[in-house]
């Protein structure tokens, strides 16, 4: 029986085994080898990121890396601390080291006074999943990542339960455009927002009642959408005139999309988003709506935005459109998208275990 040990270490081989894009706020310090973004809670600065590496010890004393998961501490909307583990990456072996990873993470969660320890499990991955592929700041290129097989039944036996399912849907952009053009829609008030314009209405957009899933609104720095830069033509806003107002327009919905930066990563060879230059200059096969929000379940809000985003993507030669961060409570959106040719291609299950103190 091999002996496993856990330490805090992000070895370079993780980037080769599971190429990723980092969307955290502390890219600059990670390049230099440190996570520096603290979580400030109850007057304390707490370590936010925990790169969990489990290795087995050879008889000659050397260590062989087995499993890696990046864990993040965050505060949920009810002010509880939670430890979020990304799907473990298999570096060597068969994944027998999972138990060591979980008990090590549990110790950290307990020390930090977390209510739970959660695992982000990529439950179903069909075909190529566009960037971003996670609700954490580390998005793996799932087509290449050597993810460990996470058996849900055995996780349940270990005390976990599924608390969320987040879906990503994908469609052929030409088919979608054909379907959308069959319908008569007014897109009078759909307009692209410049980075400056979006900054001004960002708060309003993020307070719309129907929104893309995020781990926490109270502690938003983990949310990839917060740190993905806005390029021209990638953010669309729909406004409507208030019935009782005089010409005043209100934001009814928005969508932000990104070309599939995993494709660009082959050129840029870097995990750091701020180093990607002029991303819209390159050709992409896919694009993804990664952040969205609507005032109501109104097709008249959703479809014009989708159409505008799809058109902008098509203009760049993109063939596949994806829309992510749809949680399981948003069946209406899934059904609507399926009507227009979308299929679920990616499911993330959030498995949660209460931490005993």
């Amino acid at each position: 029986m091999p002996v496993f040990e856990m330490e805090l270490h992000l070895p370079v081989k993780v980037f080769r085994r599971a190429p990723f894009i980092y969307t955290g706020v502390d890219s600059r310090s990670l390049i230099l080898g440190a996570f520096s973004d603290p979580l400030t809670n109850r007057g304390m600065n707490l370590q936010r990121a925990f790169p969990l590496l489990v290795s087995s010890r050879h008889p000659d004393g050397r260590l062989a890396d087995q499993l890696f998961s990046l864990a993040f501490l965050y505060i949920d909307d009810d002010e509880r601390r939670r430890l979020h583990l990304t799907h473990p990456i298999l570096l060597e072996g068969e994944g027998e080291a999972l138990e060591t990873l979980l008990s090590g993470a549990n110790r950290i969660a307990s020390t930090l006074g977390c209510a739970s320890m959660d695992i982000e499990a990529h439950h179903e991955v069909l075909g190529s999943i566009s960037f971003p592929s996670s609700m954490s700041p580390i998005s793996y290129d799932l087509g290449k990542a050597t993810l460990i097989g996470l058996n849900e039944v055995s996780l349940i036996k270990k005390g976990f339960r599924a608390v969320e399912e987040i879906r990503c849907l994908s469609a052929d952009i030409h088919y979608l455009e054909d379907r959308l053009s069959d319908e008569k829609r007014s897109n009078e008030y759909v307009a692209a927002a410049s980075p400056k314009e979006f900054k001004e209405i960002e708060k309003m957009c993020r307070s719309l009642p129907i929104r893309s899933y995020t781990l926490s609104n109270a502690d938003a720095t983990l949310n990839p959408a917060e740190n993905i830069p806005i390029s021209e033509g990638t953010t669309w806003i729909i406004r409507r005139r208030r019935r009782w107002g005089f010409g005043e327009l209100t934001v009814e919905g928005f969508m932000r999309w990104s070309p599939n930066l995993f494709e660009a990563m082959e050129r840029f060879r870097t995990p750091y988003l701020p180093l990607f230059q002029d991303i819209l200059r390159y050709e992409y096969r896919a694009g993804k709506v990664f952040e969205w929000g609507f005032r109501s379940r109104d097709k008249g809000i959703i479809l014009p935005l989708l159409s505008a985003a799809a058109e902008a993507m098509k203009h760049m030669g993109i063939e596949t459109i994806q829309l992510g961060c749809v949680d399981f409570r948003q069946g209406f959106l899934k059904n609507l998208l399926e009507e227009y040719g979308f299929k679920v291609v990616h499911r993330i299950r959030l498995m949660r275990r209460t931490v005993e103190h």
């Binding site: 805090l8 270490h9 992000l10 070895p11 370079v12 081989k13 993780v14 980037f15 080769r16 706020v25 502390d26 890219s27 600059r28 310090s29 990670l30 390049i31 230099l32 080898g33 440190a34 996570f35 520096s36 603290p38 979580l39 600065n45 707490l46 370590q47 936010r48 990121a49 925990f50 790169p51 290795s55 050397r62 260590l63 890396d65 840029f268 060879r269 870097t270 995990p271 750091y272 701020p274 180093l275 990607f276 230059q277």
Partner: protein, 483 residues
């Protein structure tokens, strides 16, 4: 107690914290590259060898004392590295402890010890000998000659013989063939080795931000010795090399050996190597080395310090070769003023050339670390404003991962130390004792008489220190650029 032929001790620099508890802290944790190679050379020649790093020991166990080592081992020779002047006090302090607690012959080596060999032996009776310059063959011969006390035959040795300081007649300058046989990665000989690579990547207990978690393992990669130019402030340039080691021109480590070292580093789980040897701007050696690294499939990150600006091809090759997770290119323009740069830097360039190079880095998506300094010769307060303006522009427009400005400390053997008047300096550190005293006061928590060791014709020491504060404050207040 175990008998040992040679015990190497790396003296981490101590300082007493200025907060109320006045704790004893350690800094400058990196060992000179050659220490492990020397230990390995002796080990392979049949001498029992152990390497201790006092900083690592202290971080591992707060109650650690150097005396503890002598309760475990009875060494014939104690070798202490005094390469960088920051270890001046601690190296001598450890020599005293070694003399007090053992019958060992105490030998010092490294640039600072070499430069001040006679003075150290004259002043400190606890030091028996100093190896000047390259130490490989001299140390082996010292081990052999110790029995018959015929130290005059040991090359590069300055020693005390019957109360008189003597210099051996023979000279040894390591050539490529001498370097070929060295193993810089025998971490097995280092006590508490697992902590070493991790701790040198961060400032250890000194880090005031415990939430900054260091996630990489880092090691220094030996690539050669020497330099082809003289920067005014550097104690390792061409002139200093001639003076201290006798080396007339730089030599590279054989490429096959570098590959072997890298492979060993990978086995030890090292993620990133520090490459600080770049004496010729043509960089043919590196183009070939990078090609070999790619062919061998070595997967490691690198922090490469460019001593002069490179062409775009080099930036691209670098990006293709190393794992991008922790890879950076480092440049040291030192100043924003072209005039000041010409006066002080052996490899100088215009700001336009620098901007062009930064464009290459941006286009190739390679993050850059940039270092400036203050206290340069001819640097007026106005010239320092140019430094601030250049740094601001760089942070706003280019992928700068780290940028800092340090006040220059006077280095022994540097052109400014050797001929201060020529560089407009009034120096306060001249002798070894000045450096020893500077770091003794630091270790005891006493205010220093001088931190940098000089004023210039254009700025006082106080102004120079203030410049660097202002620079670093300005940078940390900047929100723009690459976050």
């Amino acid at each position: 107690m175990k008998e040992l032929d040679i015990l190497f001790i790396h003296p981490a620099t101590h300082y007493r914290s200025s907060d109320q508890d006045g704790r004893d802290l350690v800094t400058f944790l990196v060992m000179p590259l050659g220490t492990l190679a020397l230990a390995d050379l002796l080990d392979r020649n049949g001498y029992s060898t152990v390497v201790y790093h006092t900083g690592i020991e202290q971080l591992q166990d707060r109650s650690f004392k150097v005396e503890d080592i002598f309760r475990l081992y009875e060494p014939r020779v104690v070798g202490i590295d005094l390469h960088w002047f920051v270890h001046s006090y601690d190296a001598v302090r450890i020599a005293e402890i070694a003399k007090h607690n053992s019958n060992a012959h105490v030998v010092l080596g490294g640039f600072t010890a070499s430069y001040y060999a006679e003075e150290i032996l004259n002043r400190f009776g606890c030091v028996d000998a100093i190896i000047r310059g390259d130490a490989e063959r001299p140390l082996l011969e010292l081990m052999r000659h110790l029995e018959n006390s015929e130290l005059g035959g040991v090359p590069n040795l300055v020693y005390r013989g019957r109360g008189v300081i003597k210099r051996s007649r023979r000279e040894f300058i390591a050539g490529v063939d001498d370097l070929r046989g060295l193993d810089y990665a025998n971490f097995e000989l280092l006590h508490n080795r697992e902590r070493y690579c991790r701790l040198i990547s961060q400032s250890g207990d000194l880090d005031p931000h415990p939430w900054r978690v260091s996630v990489k393992r880092h090691a220094w990669l030996p690539l050669g010795r020497g330099c082809s130019v003289d920067c005014s402030y550097c104690g390792g340039g061409r002139g200093a090399q001639r003076l201290i080691t006798g080396r007339p021109e730089p030599i590279y480590q054989p490429k096959e050996q570098v590959l072997e070292t890298l492979s060993k580093f990978m086995e030890y789980g090292i993620d990133s190597v520090y490459m600080d040897f770049d004496p010729y701007p043509d960089r043919r050696y590196y183009h070939e080395l990078f090609e070999m690294i790619r062919r061998e499939g070595i997967d490691i990150s690198a922090q490469f310090l460019l001593w002069s600006l490179s062409d775009r091809g080099f930036v691209r090759e670098f990006a293709r070769t190393f794992n991008p997770l922790y890879s950076t290119l480092t440049i040291s323009p030192e100043t924003g003023s072209e005039e000041v740069r010409i006066r002080n830097k052996g490899f100088h360039y215009t700001n336009e050339e620098l901007t062009r190079w930064l464009e290459y880095a941006k286009e190739e998506a390679v993050p850059v670390e940039a270092y400036f300094s203050t206290g340069l010769s001819s640097e007026t307060p106005e010239a320092f404003e140019e430094t601030i303006r250049l740094a601001e522009r760089m942070v706003k427009r280019y992928p700068i991962a780290s940028i800092a400005c340090n006040p220059l400390v006077l280095e022994p053997g540097s052109p400014r130390h050797l001929s201060p008047e020529d560089f407009g300096l009034r120096i306060k550190f001249r002798d070894f004792l000045d450096y020893y005293e500077r770091f003794r006061r630091l270790a005891l928590g006493l205010p220093p008489e001088s931190r940098l060791g000089y004023d210039t014709e254009w700025q006082s020491e106080h102004q120079i220190i203030d410049n660097s504060f202002r620079f670093n404050q300005m940078i940390s207040s900047m929100k723009e650029g690459f976050q």
